[in-house]
């Protein structure tokens, strides 16, 4: 007979890892399925200064290593498998992967989000040749060069600021919808002599030859600017393409609908972290992971 896990967690970001820590610490057999990216999007954070307990700050990879080590310590089993389907068979939840399938009494979805693309001419053609979706990963290649950063969220503001340490000039383009919030770092960014903020504009096209050379703008008098790189740091959307097949409901932009205990519309299936689009912070993702784990354990107990 196939093993039936108490809890299957899909995703190894802060929410998934925290869920694993909680359920395995309470002696619930826990399988965590991941795509090889243990730590999720938090791995891209070059400095985390607002995670409680670390007053001097630390890097995303370091914090995620702590999470990972803690989950392993309590017995969470990790498997690198790509999830291709989820189904609710009542008492058991079935997670299909490219390598087979797993059964669990409960399921916690913590799949995070994927980066939103602009879908403009040139974006795909110049991906990896000047177009980047990760400033902390690729920023060092743009030493003394000119870059544009597009995005209105906190990540875009902070990354634009960090790029001023590397690049010669940074065009910051919040987009025509304007800023998501007035982050404190925004004032620092605007005051930086290397930064030119292009408010009211969007990027219409990215062009170049072998590599990116310029971006075409819409929204004002400025028609184009010469750049060596474009960092597209838009806020994220859910990765949850398989959810609708499973009957899990999402809102209009793909965020999984959950109740106060992180339960989806399907009993015994929970969601936590960025895939619920609440908070977008490591601490909120971890909190949701813990809530989902506690609710899942309660669900199992009730069923016994």
């Amino acid at each position: 007979m196939e093993k039936i896990w108490d809890v299957i967690v899909v995703g190894a970001g802060p929410a998934g890892l925290t869920a694993g820590i909680y359920t395995s610490r309470h002696a619930h057999t826990t399988l965590l399925l991941h795509s090889g990216k243990i730590g999720g999007r938090a791995l891209e954070a070059h400095r985390i200064e607002n995670y409680p307990g670390f007053p001097d700050g630390l890097t995303g990879p370091k914090l995620m290593k702590f999470f990972h080590d803690q989950a392993i310590k309590f017995g969470t089993e990790f498997k690198q498998e790509t999830v291709i389907g989820i189904s609710d068979a009542g008492d058991y939840k079935i997670v299909s992967t490219r390598s087979g399938y797993h059964q669990g009494k409960t399921l916690i979805i913590a799949t995070g989000t994927q980066r939103k693309q602009l879908n403009i001419p040139g974006e795909t053609d110049f991906k990896g040749r000047g177009v980047s979706y990760c400033a902390t990963c690729d920023g060092p290649f743009f030493r003394d060069k000119t870059v544009a950063v597009l995005g209105s969220g906190y990540e875009a503001v902070v990354d634009a600021l960090s790029l001023t340490d590397i690049a010669m000039k940074v065009y910051y383009i919040p987009g025509r919808k304007g800023y998501s919030e007035k982050y404190p770092e925004l004032e620092q960014l605007k005051a930086n002599p290397k930064v030119e903020v292009l408010e009211g504009y969007d990027i219409a096209e990215i062009s170049g030859e072998e590599v990116v050379k310029k971006i075409k703008l819409i929204g004002g008098d400025r028609e184009q600017v010469d750049v060596d790189g474009v960092f597209i740091l838009l806020e994220h959307i859910s990765t949850s393409g398989i959810l609708s097949d499973a009957g899990i409901t999402t809102d209009e932009i793909g965020c999984i609908n959950v109740d106060r205990a992180q339960m989806t519309n399907l009993p015994g299936i929970y969601a936590a972290g960025d895939c619920t689009c609440m908070g977008w912070q490591i601490v909120t993702a971890a909190g949701e992971g813990a809530k989902a784990a506690l609710a899942a354990m309660k669900y199992i107990k009730k069923k016994e």
Partner: protein
């Protein structure tokens, strides 16, 4: 059989680098006359090497000093073809 030098560019914050390394390792495992070099672009030496090769993103693979694959995903078949191509030069 020509020696083929594969340089794998990565850094500690790149989310797709572990998957890229896993794929490269599987492809080169058992192949003879391969020199596999890991280049951390978060080191001064590593970033200089990347910039010298006109690299603009990680993960990336250079074969015999020429960047062949940049950004994720990589396809194993493409990497095998690049290795074969380098052997036949």
């Amino acid at each position: 059989m020509n020696l083929v030098v594969i340089e794998y560019f990565y850094n500690s914050v790149c989310p797709y680098c572990p998957a890229a390394k896993s794929l490269i390792t599987k492809v080169v495992e058992g192949l003879k006359n391969i020199e596999f070099v890991e280049v951390n672009t978060y080191t001064e030496e590593g970033i200089k090497r990347g910039i010298f090769l006109n690299l603009m993103a990680v993960p990336a693979i250079a074969i015999d000093g020429i960047v062949k694959m940049t950004g994720w995903p990589f396809e194993a078949d493409d990497l095998i073809n690049f290795i074969d191509e380098a052997r036949n030069i």
